[in-house]
Symmetry: C2
Subunit: 100 residues, 2 copies
Amino acid sequence: MDSVEVFKALSNKTRLQILSWLKDPETHFPAQEQMSLDCHGVCVGQIQIKCGLSQSTVSEYLSLLQRTGLVTATRVGQWTYYKRNEEGIKLLEQFIQNEI
Amino acid sequence: MDSVEVFKALSNKTRLQILSWLKDPETHFPAQEQMSLDCHGVCVGQIQIKCGLSQSTVSEYLSLLQRTGLVTATRVGQWTYYKRNEEGIKLLEQFIQNEI
DNA sequence: CAAACATATCGCCTTTTTCCGATATAACAA
DNA sequence: TTGTTATATCGGAAAAAGGCGATATGTTTG
């Protein structure tokens, strides 16, 4: 885990919100079918609508969150579904408890 | 706690190192007398030497860490001693566990 | 095949961060 | 008082991040 990069990824209100929304996707993304929610996560378009930022910005935010290990991405057809990576988030918690 | 500002403060290798060094100041700052270490923390000059950055940069880093609640500062004579603020760090841990 | 759709990437400009040297402030010492 | 030491603050140049529109890539549908 590159801790500096992880903290940079978290240094942004929108990206923090995305992570928080993905804790409870059923509540925050009702427009999407339940099945894909549970299986793979939430697709970029739904997250973009909720953020209110441009498509390119949200796509870049999500790929940053993925590079830093905070979410995982699954491509299914023309959609990319993102969900929280609880293991990566646990690594962050451990880093803060042990190294900071 | 302004979580975005806290994560920005942690998005820097040197500032992370400072926090880590202050976990065990006796080991990392042997040049300083034990008494002030335990009482108030470590003074700016000692931290600056260990960082290898300019005096102004380190002073600004420390005041950023203080503004975000991660350390506390105590002025004693011509020295300012910095030490970890365990309460602020606990707030960060709780934020990560509850909000992220 | 072409058109439509979802996402990713590129180029660009603006804003913020990084880090420095110079200078200011404050405390101490002679 | 003057000089010295420790820290803080200011101003600026370079690098990075924020965020956009345009465009490219990949997938589905007709």
